[in-house]
Protein backbone atom coordinates (compact mmCIF):
# COMPACT_ATOMS: atom_id res chain seq x y z
CA UNK A 1 0.00 0.00 0.00
CA UNK A 2 2.75 2.43 0.98
CA UNK A 3 4.82 1.19 -1.96
CA UNK A 4 1.96 1.77 -4.40
CA UNK A 5 1.32 5.22 -2.95
CA UNK A 6 4.99 6.18 -3.26
CA UNK A 7 5.16 4.92 -6.85
CA UNK A 8 2.24 7.12 -7.88
CA UNK A 9 3.40 10.00 -5.71
CA UNK A 10 6.80 9.96 -7.44
CA UNK A 11 5.13 10.13 -10.84
CA UNK A 12 3.04 13.14 -9.79
CA UNK A 13 5.68 14.96 -7.81
CA UNK A 14 8.18 15.04 -10.66
CA UNK A 15 5.65 16.24 -13.24
CA UNK A 16 5.61 20.00 -13.49
CA UNK A 17 2.13 20.41 -15.01
CA UNK A 18 0.64 18.16 -12.35
CA UNK A 19 2.33 20.15 -9.62
CA UNK A 20 1.00 23.41 -11.04
CA UNK A 21 -2.55 22.09 -11.48
CA UNK A 22 -2.65 20.56 -8.02
CA UNK A 23 -1.26 23.78 -6.54
CA UNK A 24 -3.82 25.87 -8.41
CA UNK A 25 -6.59 23.55 -7.22
CA UNK A 26 -5.78 23.94 -3.55
CA UNK A 27 -5.34 27.70 -3.89
CA UNK A 28 -8.80 27.85 -5.48
CA UNK A 29 -10.29 25.71 -2.71
CA UNK A 30 -8.87 28.11 -0.16
CA UNK A 31 -10.22 31.00 -2.18
CA UNK A 32 -13.75 30.07 -1.07
CA UNK A 33 -12.76 32.12 1.93
CA UNK A 34 -12.63 35.15 -0.34
CA UNK A 35 -16.43 35.03 -0.64
CA UNK A 36 -16.33 36.44 2.84
CA UNK A 37 -14.80 39.57 1.44
CA UNK A 38 -17.75 40.31 -0.87
CA UNK A 39 -19.16 43.49 0.53
CA UNK A 40 -21.25 46.29 -0.97
CA UNK A 41 -21.52 49.53 0.85
CA UNK A 42 -23.48 51.87 -1.40
CA UNK A 43 -25.08 54.52 0.78
CA UNK A 44 -28.19 53.03 2.37
CA UNK A 45 -27.65 49.55 0.90
CA UNK A 46 -25.20 47.69 3.05
CA UNK A 47 -24.54 44.17 1.95
CA UNK A 48 -21.96 41.84 3.36
CA UNK A 49 -22.26 38.32 1.96
CA UNK A 50 -20.57 36.72 4.93
CA UNK A 51 -23.23 38.21 7.20
CA UNK A 52 -26.08 36.66 5.22
CA UNK A 53 -25.78 33.36 7.03
CA UNK A 54 -23.83 31.41 4.42
CA UNK A 55 -21.11 30.69 6.95
CA UNK A 56 -23.46 29.69 9.73
CA UNK A 57 -22.87 26.28 11.23
CA UNK A 58 -23.94 23.74 10.10
CA UNK A 59 -24.99 25.32 6.78
CA UNK A 60 -21.37 26.17 5.99
CA UNK A 61 -20.55 22.47 5.53
CA UNK A 62 -23.20 22.16 2.85
CA UNK A 63 -22.36 25.46 1.15
CA UNK A 64 -18.61 24.84 0.95
CA UNK A 65 -19.00 21.19 -0.07
CA UNK A 66 -21.12 22.39 -2.97
CA UNK A 67 -18.84 25.25 -4.04
CA UNK A 68 -15.64 23.22 -3.51
CA UNK A 69 -16.81 20.54 -5.93
CA UNK A 70 -16.73 23.06 -8.80
CA UNK A 71 -12.95 22.97 -8.82
CA UNK A 72 -12.66 19.18 -9.12
CA UNK A 73 -12.06 19.50 -12.86
CA UNK A 74 -8.48 20.59 -12.10
CA UNK A 75 -7.68 17.26 -10.47
CA UNK A 76 -9.67 15.48 -13.18
CA UNK A 77 -7.27 16.93 -15.75
CA UNK A 78 -4.33 15.67 -13.69
CA UNK A 79 -5.78 12.16 -13.41
CA UNK A 80 -6.76 11.88 -17.05
CA UNK A 81 -3.44 13.18 -18.35
CA UNK A 82 -1.34 11.09 -15.97
CA UNK A 83 -3.24 8.00 -17.10
CA UNK A 84 -3.12 8.84 -20.80
CA UNK A 85 0.61 9.62 -20.53
CA UNK A 86 1.25 6.14 -19.15
CA UNK A 87 0.01 4.88 -22.49
CA UNK A 88 1.62 7.44 -24.79
CA UNK A 89 5.00 7.09 -23.06
CA UNK A 90 4.45 3.32 -22.87
CA UNK A 91 5.54 3.52 -19.25
CA UNK A 92 2.64 1.30 -18.23
CA UNK A 93 4.30 -1.43 -20.29
CA UNK A 94 7.62 -0.80 -18.58
CA UNK A 95 5.94 -0.77 -15.13
CA UNK A 96 4.44 -4.20 -15.82
CA UNK A 97 7.72 -5.58 -17.17
CA UNK A 98 9.49 -4.26 -14.09
CA UNK A 99 7.21 -6.37 -11.93
CA UNK A 100 4.11 -4.34 -11.12
CA UNK A 101 0.95 -6.37 -11.59
CA UNK A 102 -1.97 -4.88 -13.48
CA UNK A 103 -3.98 -4.82 -10.28
CA UNK A 104 -1.18 -3.04 -8.44
CA UNK A 105 -0.96 -0.50 -11.24
CA UNK A 106 -4.68 0.18 -10.97
CA UNK A 107 -4.53 0.31 -7.17
CA UNK A 108 -1.72 2.86 -7.24
CA UNK A 109 -4.01 5.10 -9.31
CA UNK A 110 -6.97 4.49 -7.01
CA UNK A 111 -4.91 5.24 -3.94
CA UNK A 112 -4.19 8.59 -5.55
CA UNK A 113 -7.91 9.10 -6.19
CA UNK A 114 -8.69 8.46 -2.53
CA UNK A 115 -5.80 10.70 -1.49
CA UNK A 116 -7.04 13.55 -3.71
CA UNK A 117 -10.60 13.18 -2.45
CA UNK A 118 -9.47 12.80 1.15
CA UNK A 119 -7.16 15.81 1.14
CA UNK A 120 -9.81 17.91 -0.61
CA UNK A 121 -12.36 16.95 2.03
CA UNK A 122 -9.90 17.80 4.78
CA UNK A 123 -9.25 21.14 3.12
CA UNK A 124 -12.94 21.95 2.87
CA UNK A 125 -13.33 20.93 6.49
CA UNK A 126 -10.56 23.25 7.68
CA UNK A 127 -11.59 26.20 5.50
CA UNK A 128 -15.24 25.82 6.55
CA UNK A 129 -14.33 25.48 10.19
CA UNK A 130 -12.30 28.68 10.13
CA UNK A 131 -14.95 30.61 8.18
CA UNK A 132 -17.65 29.29 10.46
CA UNK A 133 -15.80 30.23 13.60
CA UNK A 134 -15.28 33.72 12.21
CA UNK A 135 -18.77 34.45 10.89
CA UNK A 136 -21.26 31.93 12.26
CA UNK A 137 -24.01 33.13 14.56
CA UNK A 138 -24.02 29.78 16.33
CA UNK A 139 -20.84 28.28 17.67
CA UNK A 140 -22.11 25.62 20.04
CA UNK A 141 -20.18 22.40 19.61
CA UNK A 142 -23.32 20.38 18.96
CA UNK A 143 -24.22 22.65 16.07
CA UNK A 144 -20.70 22.86 14.68
CA UNK A 145 -20.42 19.09 14.49
CA UNK A 146 -23.73 18.42 12.82
CA UNK A 147 -24.62 17.88 9.15
CA UNK A 148 -21.32 16.18 8.44
CA UNK A 149 -23.05 14.04 5.83
CA UNK A 150 -22.31 16.83 3.34
CA UNK A 151 -18.58 16.28 3.77
CA UNK A 152 -19.03 12.55 3.33
CA UNK A 153 -21.13 13.20 0.21
CA UNK A 154 -18.47 15.58 -1.10
CA UNK A 155 -15.79 12.92 -0.57
CA UNK A 156 -17.80 10.21 -2.35
CA UNK A 157 -18.68 12.58 -5.16
CA UNK A 158 -15.01 13.30 -5.81
CA UNK A 159 -14.06 9.61 -5.63
CA UNK A 160 -16.72 8.66 -8.17
CA UNK A 161 -15.84 11.54 -10.47
CA UNK A 162 -12.11 10.79 -10.40
CA UNK A 163 -12.87 7.10 -10.89
CA UNK A 164 -14.87 8.00 -13.98
CA UNK A 165 -11.92 10.13 -15.22
CA UNK A 166 -9.47 7.29 -14.64
CA UNK A 167 -11.74 4.96 -16.57
CA UNK A 168 -12.05 7.42 -19.47
CA UNK A 169 -8.29 8.02 -19.51
CA UNK A 170 -7.71 4.28 -19.69
CA UNK A 171 -10.31 3.65 -22.39
CA UNK A 172 -9.40 6.56 -24.63
CA UNK A 173 -5.65 6.79 -23.88
CA UNK A 174 -5.55 10.42 -25.06
CA UNK A 175 -6.06 13.09 -22.44
CA UNK A 176 -7.67 15.71 -24.67
CA UNK A 177 -10.15 13.24 -26.15
CA UNK A 178 -10.94 11.76 -22.76
CA UNK A 179 -11.73 15.19 -21.32
CA UNK A 180 -13.73 15.99 -24.45
CA UNK A 181 -15.67 12.80 -23.96
CA UNK A 182 -16.43 13.83 -20.39
CA UNK A 183 -18.12 16.94 -21.79
CA UNK A 184 -19.94 14.89 -24.42
CA UNK A 185 -21.13 12.48 -21.74
CA UNK A 186 -22.50 15.34 -19.67
CA UNK A 187 -24.49 16.48 -22.70
CA UNK A 188 -25.56 12.91 -23.41
CA UNK A 189 -27.06 12.64 -19.93
CA UNK A 190 -28.89 15.92 -20.47
CA UNK A 191 -30.29 14.76 -23.80
CA UNK A 192 -31.33 11.43 -22.31
CA UNK A 193 -33.19 13.23 -19.57
CA UNK A 194 -34.92 15.42 -22.12
CA UNK A 195 -35.96 12.39 -24.17
CA UNK A 196 -37.13 10.53 -21.08
CA UNK A 197 -39.29 13.43 -19.98
CA UNK A 198 -40.68 13.90 -23.43
CA UNK A 199 -41.22 10.43 -24.81
CA UNK A 200 -41.20 7.86 -22.03
CA UNK A 201 -44.43 6.04 -21.22
CA UNK A 202 -46.28 7.18 -18.15
CA UNK A 203 -45.22 4.21 -16.00
CA UNK A 204 -41.61 5.36 -16.19
CA UNK A 205 -40.67 8.12 -13.82
CA UNK A 206 -38.09 10.09 -15.80
CA UNK A 207 -36.66 11.73 -12.70
CA UNK A 208 -36.09 8.42 -10.96
CA UNK A 209 -34.36 6.93 -14.03
CA UNK A 210 -32.25 10.03 -14.39
CA UNK A 211 -31.09 9.60 -10.81
CA UNK A 212 -29.20 6.51 -11.94
CA UNK A 213 -27.01 8.32 -14.48
CA UNK A 214 -23.44 8.64 -13.14
CA UNK A 215 -22.77 12.37 -13.50
CA UNK A 216 -26.28 13.26 -12.42
CA UNK A 217 -26.02 10.96 -9.43
CA UNK A 218 -22.80 12.68 -8.42
CA UNK A 219 -24.38 16.10 -8.71
CA UNK A 220 -27.46 14.96 -6.76
CA UNK A 221 -25.24 13.85 -3.95
CA UNK A 222 -24.58 17.40 -2.77
CA UNK A 223 -27.76 19.31 -3.78
CA UNK A 224 -27.55 23.04 -4.39
CA UNK A 225 -27.56 24.87 -1.07
CA UNK A 226 -28.93 28.26 -2.15
CA UNK A 227 -32.63 27.59 -1.68
CA UNK A 228 -31.89 26.64 1.90
CA UNK A 229 -30.62 30.08 2.65
CA UNK A 230 -33.16 32.09 4.62
CA UNK A 231 -32.39 35.23 2.63
CA UNK A 232 -33.29 33.42 -0.58
CA UNK A 233 -36.40 31.87 0.98
CA UNK A 234 -37.59 35.26 2.19
CA UNK A 235 -37.07 36.71 -1.23
CA UNK A 236 -39.02 33.88 -2.83
CA UNK A 237 -41.88 34.25 -0.37
CA UNK A 238 -42.09 37.92 -1.12
CA UNK A 239 -42.72 37.17 -4.79
CA UNK A 240 -45.25 34.54 -3.73
CA UNK A 241 -43.23 31.50 -4.64
CA UNK A 242 -43.05 28.53 -2.32
CA UNK A 243 -39.87 26.58 -2.90
CA UNK A 244 -39.99 22.88 -2.38
CA UNK A 245 -36.59 21.48 -3.13
CA UNK A 246 -34.59 18.75 -1.63
CA UNK A 247 -31.38 19.82 0.00
CA UNK A 248 -30.58 16.77 2.10
CA UNK A 249 -28.07 14.08 1.25
CA UNK A 250 -30.22 11.10 0.31
CA UNK A 251 -29.26 7.57 1.15
CA UNK A 252 -30.05 6.16 -2.30
CA UNK A 253 -27.90 8.75 -4.03
CA UNK A 254 -24.99 7.59 -1.89
CA UNK A 255 -25.65 3.99 -2.87
CA UNK A 256 -25.86 4.85 -6.56
CA UNK A 257 -22.62 6.84 -6.51
CA UNK A 258 -20.71 4.19 -4.56
CA UNK A 259 -21.95 1.58 -7.01
CA UNK A 260 -20.80 3.66 -9.96
CA UNK A 261 -17.35 4.06 -8.36
CA UNK A 262 -17.12 0.31 -8.03
CA UNK A 263 -18.31 -0.21 -11.60
CA UNK A 264 -15.66 2.20 -12.90
CA UNK A 265 -13.03 0.36 -10.90
CA UNK A 266 -14.11 -3.01 -12.26
CA UNK A 267 -14.41 -1.82 -15.85
CA UNK A 268 -10.97 -0.22 -15.72
CA UNK A 269 -9.47 -3.41 -14.33
CA UNK A 270 -11.16 -5.56 -16.93
CA UNK A 271 -9.85 -3.31 -19.68
CA UNK A 272 -6.29 -3.33 -18.28
CA UNK A 273 -6.39 -7.08 -17.97
CA UNK A 274 -7.65 -7.78 -21.45
CA UNK A 275 -5.69 -5.24 -23.40
CA UNK A 276 -2.36 -6.21 -24.95
CA UNK A 277 0.32 -3.57 -24.65
Amino acid sequence: MKRLFLIEFDKLRTNRSSRILIGAYFILLTSIALIAAIKFDIGPIKFHLAEQGIFNFPYVWHFNAFIGAWFKIFLAVVIVSMTANEYSNKTIKQNLIDGLSKREFLHSKWIMIFAFAGISTLFIFVVSLILGLMYSNYTELGIIFSDFEYLLAYFLKLVAFFGFCLFLGTVIKRSAFALGFLGVWQMFEGICYGLLKWKSPSWIDADQVFRLFPLNAMSNLVPEPFTRLSAVRNLAEQVGEVMQTNSAVRFWDIVIVVLWSYIFYLLTYRLLKRRDL
Partner: protein, 300 residues
Protein backbone atom coordinates in the same frame (compact mmCIF):
# COMPACT_ATOMS: atom_id res chain seq x y z
CA UNK B 1 21.04 -27.05 -13.84
CA UNK B 2 18.15 -24.90 -12.67
CA UNK B 3 15.42 -23.91 -15.06
CA UNK B 4 14.60 -20.24 -15.25
CA UNK B 5 11.75 -20.29 -17.72
CA UNK B 6 9.63 -23.03 -19.22
CA UNK B 7 7.35 -22.23 -22.12
CA UNK B 8 4.78 -24.81 -23.20
CA UNK B 9 2.64 -24.61 -26.34
CA UNK B 10 2.43 -20.85 -26.14
CA UNK B 11 0.13 -19.40 -28.81
CA UNK B 12 -0.97 -15.87 -29.60
CA UNK B 13 -3.58 -15.04 -32.19
CA UNK B 14 -4.35 -11.54 -33.38
CA UNK B 15 -7.65 -12.05 -35.17
CA UNK B 16 -7.00 -14.61 -37.88
CA UNK B 17 -3.24 -14.05 -37.74
CA UNK B 18 -1.28 -16.46 -35.60
CA UNK B 19 1.70 -14.49 -34.37
CA UNK B 20 3.10 -17.24 -32.16
CA UNK B 21 2.19 -20.82 -32.90
CA UNK B 22 2.40 -23.48 -30.20
CA UNK B 23 5.89 -22.53 -29.09
CA UNK B 24 7.77 -24.55 -26.49
CA UNK B 25 11.25 -24.06 -25.11
CA UNK B 26 13.04 -23.77 -21.81
CA UNK B 27 15.83 -21.61 -20.50
CA UNK B 28 18.47 -22.83 -18.12
CA UNK B 29 20.65 -20.82 -15.81
CA UNK B 30 23.97 -19.60 -17.11
CA UNK B 31 23.38 -19.81 -20.85
CA UNK B 32 23.06 -17.00 -23.33
CA UNK B 33 20.10 -17.54 -25.64
CA UNK B 34 19.35 -15.82 -28.90
CA UNK B 35 15.93 -15.63 -30.49
CA UNK B 36 16.35 -15.29 -34.22
CA UNK B 37 13.78 -14.62 -36.83
CA UNK B 38 12.87 -12.18 -39.53
CA UNK B 39 10.72 -9.16 -38.71
CA UNK B 40 7.21 -10.27 -37.80
CA UNK B 41 8.22 -13.81 -36.88
CA UNK B 42 6.80 -13.45 -33.36
CA UNK B 43 9.93 -12.63 -31.35
CA UNK B 44 8.54 -9.56 -29.60
CA UNK B 45 5.13 -11.16 -29.11
CA UNK B 46 6.78 -14.13 -27.40
CA UNK B 47 8.74 -11.84 -25.11
CA UNK B 48 5.62 -9.74 -24.50
CA UNK B 49 3.77 -12.82 -23.30
CA UNK B 50 6.44 -14.03 -20.90
CA UNK B 51 6.77 -10.45 -19.60
CA UNK B 52 3.09 -10.11 -18.72
CA UNK B 53 2.16 -7.41 -21.24
CA UNK B 54 0.58 -9.58 -23.92
CA UNK B 55 -2.12 -12.09 -22.99
CA UNK B 56 -1.49 -15.54 -24.48
CA UNK B 57 -4.34 -17.05 -26.50
CA UNK B 58 -3.40 -20.47 -25.19
CA UNK B 59 -0.49 -22.34 -23.68
CA UNK B 60 1.42 -21.67 -20.51
CA UNK B 61 4.74 -20.44 -19.23
CA UNK B 62 6.26 -20.55 -15.79
CA UNK B 63 9.11 -18.64 -14.25
CA UNK B 64 11.58 -20.25 -11.85
CA UNK B 65 9.75 -23.61 -11.88
CA UNK B 66 6.48 -21.90 -11.06
CA UNK B 67 7.70 -20.86 -7.62
CA UNK B 68 6.13 -17.42 -7.94
CA UNK B 69 3.41 -15.75 -9.95
CA UNK B 70 4.46 -13.81 -13.01
CA UNK B 71 4.68 -10.29 -11.61
CA UNK B 72 6.59 -11.45 -8.54
CA UNK B 73 8.96 -13.39 -10.78
CA UNK B 74 9.50 -10.35 -13.00
CA UNK B 75 11.07 -8.54 -10.05
CA UNK B 76 13.96 -10.98 -10.46
CA UNK B 77 14.14 -10.37 -14.21
CA UNK B 78 15.65 -7.47 -16.10
CA UNK B 79 14.07 -6.67 -19.43
CA UNK B 80 14.21 -4.14 -22.22
CA UNK B 81 11.57 -4.28 -24.89
CA UNK B 82 11.94 -2.46 -28.22
CA UNK B 83 12.25 1.22 -27.32
CA UNK B 84 13.35 2.47 -23.91
CA UNK B 85 10.20 3.54 -22.04
CA UNK B 86 10.72 6.05 -19.27
CA UNK B 87 9.00 9.12 -17.87
CA UNK B 88 10.34 11.90 -20.12
CA UNK B 89 10.00 14.58 -17.44
CA UNK B 90 11.94 12.64 -14.81
CA UNK B 91 15.71 12.62 -14.54
CA UNK B 92 17.64 9.40 -15.04
CA UNK B 93 18.07 9.02 -11.29
CA UNK B 94 14.36 9.65 -10.61
CA UNK B 95 13.38 7.12 -13.26
CA UNK B 96 15.64 4.51 -11.75
CA UNK B 97 14.34 5.29 -8.28
CA UNK B 98 10.83 4.51 -9.48
CA UNK B 99 12.06 1.20 -10.91
CA UNK B 100 13.67 0.44 -7.54
CA UNK B 101 10.33 1.04 -5.84
CA UNK B 102 8.55 -1.26 -8.27
CA UNK B 103 11.16 -4.00 -8.04
CA UNK B 104 11.56 -3.49 -4.29
CA UNK B 105 15.33 -3.24 -4.41
CA UNK B 106 17.49 -0.77 -2.46
CA UNK B 107 18.21 2.58 -4.12
CA UNK B 108 21.90 2.17 -3.44
CA UNK B 109 22.30 0.33 -6.75
CA UNK B 110 21.39 3.36 -8.84
CA UNK B 111 24.81 5.02 -8.88
CA UNK B 112 26.60 1.74 -9.51
CA UNK B 113 24.49 0.86 -12.54
CA UNK B 114 24.66 4.36 -13.99
CA UNK B 115 28.42 4.12 -13.67
CA UNK B 116 28.37 0.79 -15.54
CA UNK B 117 26.61 2.30 -18.55
CA UNK B 118 28.61 5.49 -18.36
CA UNK B 119 25.74 7.85 -17.55
CA UNK B 120 26.70 8.94 -14.05
CA UNK B 121 27.56 12.47 -15.08
CA UNK B 122 24.14 12.89 -16.74
CA UNK B 123 22.07 11.41 -13.94
CA UNK B 124 20.33 14.66 -13.06
CA UNK B 125 19.27 15.47 -16.61
CA UNK B 126 15.72 14.69 -17.67
CA UNK B 127 15.18 11.64 -19.83
CA UNK B 128 13.80 13.68 -22.73
CA UNK B 129 17.16 15.40 -23.21
CA UNK B 130 18.91 12.06 -23.84
CA UNK B 131 20.06 10.79 -27.22
CA UNK B 132 18.74 7.41 -28.35
CA UNK B 133 22.00 5.71 -27.45
CA UNK B 134 21.89 7.18 -23.95
CA UNK B 135 18.23 6.16 -23.56
CA UNK B 136 19.12 2.61 -24.52
CA UNK B 137 22.00 2.58 -22.04
CA UNK B 138 19.72 3.91 -19.32
CA UNK B 139 17.31 1.09 -20.15
CA UNK B 140 20.14 -1.39 -19.63
CA UNK B 141 21.05 0.23 -16.30
CA UNK B 142 17.40 -0.01 -15.29
CA UNK B 143 17.21 -3.67 -16.27
CA UNK B 144 20.29 -4.42 -14.19
CA UNK B 145 19.13 -2.60 -11.04
CA UNK B 146 17.97 -5.80 -9.34
CA UNK B 147 21.03 -7.82 -10.44
CA UNK B 148 18.59 -9.97 -12.43
CA UNK B 149 18.76 -13.72 -12.67
CA UNK B 150 17.97 -13.35 -16.33
CA UNK B 151 18.35 -10.39 -18.63
CA UNK B 152 15.93 -10.15 -21.54
CA UNK B 153 16.86 -7.88 -24.40
CA UNK B 154 14.68 -7.23 -27.42
CA UNK B 155 16.60 -5.68 -30.31
CA UNK B 156 18.93 -3.78 -28.00
CA UNK B 157 20.91 -2.18 -30.79
CA UNK B 158 17.96 -1.21 -32.98
CA UNK B 159 18.26 2.29 -34.35
CA UNK B 160 21.62 3.03 -32.77
CA UNK B 161 24.60 4.47 -34.60
CA UNK B 162 27.71 2.29 -34.97
CA UNK B 163 29.27 3.77 -31.86
CA UNK B 164 26.11 3.15 -29.86
CA UNK B 165 25.89 -0.41 -31.18
CA UNK B 166 29.47 -1.05 -30.12
CA UNK B 167 28.81 0.39 -26.63
CA UNK B 168 25.67 -1.64 -26.08
CA UNK B 169 27.32 -4.82 -27.35
CA UNK B 170 30.28 -4.19 -25.12
CA UNK B 171 27.97 -3.95 -22.11
CA UNK B 172 26.13 -7.13 -23.09
CA UNK B 173 29.36 -9.04 -23.56
CA UNK B 174 30.60 -7.80 -20.20
CA UNK B 175 27.43 -9.05 -18.52
CA UNK B 176 27.53 -12.35 -20.41
CA UNK B 177 31.14 -12.86 -19.34
CA UNK B 178 30.05 -12.59 -15.70
CA UNK B 179 27.99 -15.74 -16.21
CA UNK B 180 24.56 -14.10 -16.38
CA UNK B 181 21.67 -15.76 -18.16
CA UNK B 182 20.62 -13.70 -21.14
CA UNK B 183 17.79 -13.97 -23.64
CA UNK B 184 18.50 -11.80 -26.65
CA UNK B 185 16.04 -11.29 -29.48
CA UNK B 186 17.47 -9.89 -32.62
CA UNK B 187 17.32 -10.08 -36.36
CA UNK B 188 21.01 -9.21 -36.53
CA UNK B 189 22.63 -12.59 -36.88
CA UNK B 190 26.21 -11.61 -36.21
CA UNK B 191 25.03 -10.05 -32.97
CA UNK B 192 23.56 -13.37 -31.86
CA UNK B 193 26.53 -15.34 -33.17
CA UNK B 194 28.92 -13.19 -31.16
CA UNK B 195 27.31 -13.55 -27.76
CA UNK B 196 24.89 -16.49 -27.73
CA UNK B 197 25.53 -20.09 -26.81
CA UNK B 198 22.03 -21.27 -27.69
CA UNK B 199 19.61 -20.15 -30.31
CA UNK B 200 15.87 -20.34 -30.94
CA UNK B 201 14.94 -19.77 -34.55
CA UNK B 202 11.41 -18.63 -35.28
CA UNK B 203 9.56 -18.31 -38.51
CA UNK B 204 5.96 -17.18 -38.77
CA UNK B 205 5.55 -17.85 -35.08
CA UNK B 206 6.81 -21.41 -35.30
CA UNK B 207 9.97 -22.83 -33.82
CA UNK B 208 12.21 -24.18 -36.53
CA UNK B 209 15.35 -24.70 -34.50
CA UNK B 210 16.23 -24.72 -30.83
CA UNK B 211 19.62 -25.77 -29.55
CA UNK B 212 23.26 -24.85 -29.41
CA UNK B 213 24.65 -22.34 -31.85
CA UNK B 214 27.63 -24.59 -32.49
CA UNK B 215 25.38 -27.49 -33.43
CA UNK B 216 23.72 -25.24 -35.96
CA UNK B 217 26.90 -23.89 -37.52
CA UNK B 218 29.12 -26.96 -37.33
CA UNK B 219 29.13 -28.87 -40.52
CA UNK B 220 32.16 -29.94 -42.41
CA UNK B 221 32.67 -26.48 -43.78
CA UNK B 222 33.68 -25.97 -47.37
CA UNK B 223 36.69 -25.04 -49.48
CA UNK B 224 37.00 -22.08 -51.75
CA UNK B 225 39.45 -22.83 -54.55
CA UNK B 226 40.95 -21.43 -57.70
CA UNK B 227 43.63 -22.82 -59.98
CA UNK B 228 45.51 -21.95 -63.14
CA UNK B 229 43.44 -24.56 -64.96
CA UNK B 230 39.92 -24.24 -63.68
CA UNK B 231 38.49 -27.08 -65.79
CA UNK B 232 41.09 -29.54 -64.58
CA UNK B 233 40.44 -28.50 -61.00
CA UNK B 234 36.74 -29.05 -61.47
CA UNK B 235 37.31 -32.50 -62.96
CA UNK B 236 39.61 -33.59 -60.17
CA UNK B 237 37.23 -32.38 -57.51
CA UNK B 238 34.27 -34.10 -59.13
CA UNK B 239 36.12 -37.38 -59.08
CA UNK B 240 37.35 -36.91 -55.50
CA UNK B 241 35.71 -39.53 -53.29
CA UNK B 242 35.23 -37.28 -50.24
CA UNK B 243 33.78 -34.28 -52.06
CA UNK B 244 30.03 -34.60 -52.26
CA UNK B 245 29.18 -31.41 -54.10
CA UNK B 246 30.90 -28.64 -56.00
CA UNK B 247 29.62 -25.25 -56.98
CA UNK B 248 31.00 -22.58 -59.24
CA UNK B 249 30.80 -19.26 -57.50
CA UNK B 250 32.09 -16.25 -59.46
CA UNK B 251 35.62 -17.22 -60.45
CA UNK B 252 35.99 -19.65 -57.55
CA UNK B 253 34.95 -23.21 -57.08
CA UNK B 254 33.30 -24.18 -53.84
CA UNK B 255 33.85 -27.75 -52.74
CA UNK B 256 31.76 -29.39 -50.00
CA UNK B 257 33.38 -32.39 -48.35
CA UNK B 258 31.19 -35.29 -47.21
CA UNK B 259 33.26 -35.85 -44.08
CA UNK B 260 35.55 -33.67 -42.09
CA UNK B 261 38.67 -32.97 -44.05
CA UNK B 262 41.70 -30.84 -43.28
CA UNK B 263 43.09 -28.30 -45.72
CA UNK B 264 46.35 -30.22 -45.84
CA UNK B 265 44.63 -33.40 -47.01
CA UNK B 266 42.84 -31.73 -49.89
CA UNK B 267 45.75 -29.59 -50.95
CA UNK B 268 48.02 -32.63 -50.92
CA UNK B 269 45.70 -34.71 -53.05
CA UNK B 270 45.22 -31.85 -55.52
CA UNK B 271 48.94 -31.28 -55.98
CA UNK B 272 49.36 -35.04 -56.50
CA UNK B 273 47.01 -34.64 -59.47
CA UNK B 274 49.17 -31.82 -60.82
CA UNK B 275 46.79 -28.95 -60.08
CA UNK B 276 48.46 -25.62 -59.37
CA UNK B 277 46.36 -23.79 -56.85
CA UNK B 278 46.14 -20.01 -56.89
CA UNK B 279 43.52 -19.58 -54.17
CA UNK B 280 42.68 -21.81 -51.27
CA UNK B 281 40.48 -21.12 -48.29
CA UNK B 282 38.67 -23.32 -45.82
CA UNK B 283 35.41 -21.80 -44.66
CA UNK B 284 32.47 -22.48 -42.41
CA UNK B 285 28.97 -21.42 -43.09
CA UNK B 286 28.13 -18.40 -41.01
CA UNK B 287 25.06 -18.36 -38.82
CA UNK B 288 23.55 -16.07 -41.40
CA UNK B 289 23.89 -18.63 -44.19
CA UNK B 290 22.65 -21.37 -41.90
CA UNK B 291 19.72 -19.24 -40.92
CA UNK B 292 18.84 -18.44 -44.51
CA UNK B 293 18.99 -22.07 -45.54
CA UNK B 294 16.95 -23.06 -42.50
CA UNK B 295 14.23 -20.55 -43.20
CA UNK B 296 14.28 -21.39 -46.92
CA UNK B 297 13.70 -25.06 -46.21
CA UNK B 298 10.60 -24.18 -44.26
CA UNK B 299 8.96 -22.25 -47.07
CA UNK B 300 5.80 -24.07 -48.14
Amino acid sequence: MSTILTVTDLTKKFGHLTAVNSLSFSINKGNVYGILGPNGSGKSTTLGMILNVVNPSSGTFSWFDGAKNTHQALKRVGAIIERPNFYPYMTAAQNLRLVCRIKEVPKSKIEEKLELVDLLDRKNDTFKTYSLGMKQRLAIASALLNDPEILILDEPTNGLDPQGIAQVRGIIQKIAAQGATILLASHLLDEVEKVCSHVLVLQKGKRIYFGKVTALTTDHGYFELNATDLNALQKVLESHQDIEKIEVYNTHILAYPSKSMTATELSKSLSEQGIIITHFAQKHKSLEEQFLSLTKNQQP
